[in-house]
Subunit: 386 residues, 2 copies
């Protein structure tokens, strides 16, 4: 197993992009990433596409070869990978594996989702929960995360205001990101007064429905050094784990076991402890998710995430900046693309090219992506090495 480097990143603007089809979006992001990687794209020999549900959203499965075709890259192998909202993270993980194994020098990993074309989005997303034991009985994701939030509040005294702080912080960051779907700030009052979705979660606790794509070029050290112009970013860890798909099967619904497992493995691979991470992109599909993830990543003890968020520790400039991109909440959440977009943001941060949202002296970045209520999780750790 050899080292793997990120040598190119690209993404579309996130939003309601009615003028673009799924293939348009992916190709735009992939071409941007290839362009960013300089001439290394000539050696591209394989593709992974993360996408949760192109079948339900736009009536198109089999997007691996379709996107390779429209990118002008057939006959290279192209596989779609799906782990619900962690699909983009899984695409990056499997691409890393292929480079690490020595099978390929340069591999493209991207994610895409086209959600605003008219499908019943809530029902489509609910297929990431247990259809027979959850969705069929009427529990969709806002309801499932609301259960987690209520349990966290009950057990640890987490407050409604602390949840709101997560959204306020991510919008503050997102306002600095030109690719964000909602690049504007919001207040705690606005969150608390927004319409109720599934008590205690309100509209501004929820990430939006989004179209978008993101892509990453992974390469061997030799190919990375040949590509040249950017600071080298090494993939120090690439880990994945699973948990029970149904919330009712868990011993403690405030804990994300798959995130804990993937994080533990990632820290082992990278040889670091959580306090060494300078900047994180995590899966804040709902405000409560960001809090539970902070605990599962070992950034704080169980139950202590709310006060940290309230104290501003997770802001850019805080002790542990989280979601400088604006996160899923403000940047947007095209589900299959989000995991790949996290890597795009980390690379900008570690290269020092994140403009107004730059985390100072960022050298180690962590990306955590999850599917469903955390049944799938990928964790990547990137390290700037030059």
């Amino acid at each position: 197993m050899r080292d793997v480097y990120v040598i190119g990143v690209g993404m579309t603007r996130f939003g309601e992009l009615w003028e673009s089809s799924l293939r348009d979006l992916f190709v735009e992001a992939a071409l941007a990433a290839l362009d960013d990687a300089g001439n290394a794209g000539e050696h591209l020999s394989s593709m992974y596409v993360g996408c949760m549900s192109s079948g339900l959203f736009v009536g198109q499965e089999h997007i691996g070869p379709q996107l390779a075709d429209y990118l002008g890259r057939i006959p290279i192998p192209a596989t779609r990978v799906e782990t619900a909202c962690a699909s983009g993270g899984a695409a990056v993980l499997h691409a890393c594996l292929e480079v690490a194994a020595g099978v390929s020098e340069v591999v493209l990993a991207g994610g895409v989702e086209k959600m605003t074309d008219g499908a019943d989005v809530t029902s489509a997303l609910a297929t990431a929960a247990d259809q027979e034991y959850e969705a069929y009985h009427g529990v969709t994701f806002p309801g499932l995360y609301a259960l987690m939030a209520r349990a966290h509040m009950h057990r640890y005294g987490t407050t409604r205001e602390q949840l709101a702080r997560v959204a306020v912080k991510n919008h503050k960051h997102g306002a600095l990101n030109p690719k964000a779907q909602y690049p504007f700030e919001i207040t705690v009052e606005q969150v608390l007064n927004s319409s109720r979705v599934a008590d205690p979660l309100r509209l501004l606790d929820c990430s939006p429905v989004t179209d978008g794509a993101a892509a990453v070029i992974l390469a061997s050290e030799e190919a990375a050094r040949r590509a040249g112009s950017h600071p080298l970013i090494r993939v120090a860890a690439s880990a994945q784990a699973t948990g029970t798909i149904a919330l009712h099967s868990r011993a403690d619904i405030t804990r994300l076991d798959a995130v804990e497992q993937a994080a533990k493995e990632a820290y082992r691979q990278a040889g670091i402890t959580p306090d060494k991470v300078d900047v994180s992109e995590v899966h804040d599909c709902f405000t409560i998710a960001e809090l539970c993830v902070m605990e599962a990543l070992g950034y704080t003890e169980a139950g202590k995430s709310g006060p940290l968020a309230e104290a501003g520790e997770t802001n850019i400039g805080g002790r542990m900046p989280i979601n400088p991109s604006g996160g899923l909440k403000a940047k947007g959440h095209p589900v299959g693309a989000s995991g790949a977009a996290q890597i795009v943001e980390l690379v900008h941060q570690l290269r020092g090219e994140a403009d107004g949202r730059q985390v100072e002296n960022a050298r180690i970045g962590l990306a955590q992506s999850m599917g469903g209520t955390g049944a799938s999780c990928t964790v990547h750790i990137l390290e700037g090495v030059s």
Copy 2:
């Protein structure tokens, strides 16, 4: 990169299995494969699930962790891979990569599809074609393969009877397979008189709609030798390629470029020529597909497959036995499972445990799986080494 071995195989009966859910089917096949692998299953550290469209067929995405959960194997990583009807082949390919890379000692690769639960199957399958340029305009798969058949007949003089021979032969083989959906023989006359689906293809030229699952356990040489009781089966090649998703983009619609590319790479990896293959399982979703695939695999020149089928050369006992399992036509075609089920059959053949349908002295087997009209293709070559 190290050698990879198949140490366990299992599959459900294929058919209209209304009493079983998707998770039931997958778990049944996976447990059978783990049982077949002896105690090696203790070291299982990762899973790949091939599935084309659980979202459209049964309203369930995110089946990787769901199936890991129901198999009692969380927190191991589990990824669904999708390349339409080649998804099972792709699952095997990515599992092989993980073992070859040295990341895992024992990996499960399976495929599953539950197609008879009430979805609009023809529309769901059409999402493997180009939705915007083919399916939307009314061309579904029988129509697309009919275009290929008509072109092959026009260019090479392939006859209606030669197409029928493929179905007759596969049913003859399938009658010997207790897991087959249609374990009975048919005649050329029955094929020619069956109802017209898309001229020149008739009902008995088409593979059926099927529920089923298949699973394969891949392992390193050390793990394979520890597992013990079976003859060793080495994965001599594992290759994948893509072609244009839309038929109209191809220079010649009688040729399967992705199959040619994947086969070329597979022969290179295995260090063999096509004539060294003793037994093949190929993707006969329609009778014309088996003929085009024979040519793309280099088993014969372009245009010569029809006469070979007519002469019985592809029967068990013939010079190049194809689809001893009954193929997709008679064994059934649960789309995401078919590529994995091909490996199951080859392993039985190479172990010499295929009973009435045993190909004598089979030492090298080839499995070819494809998605859509061949936009995705995987080719595996297995070799009995002890």
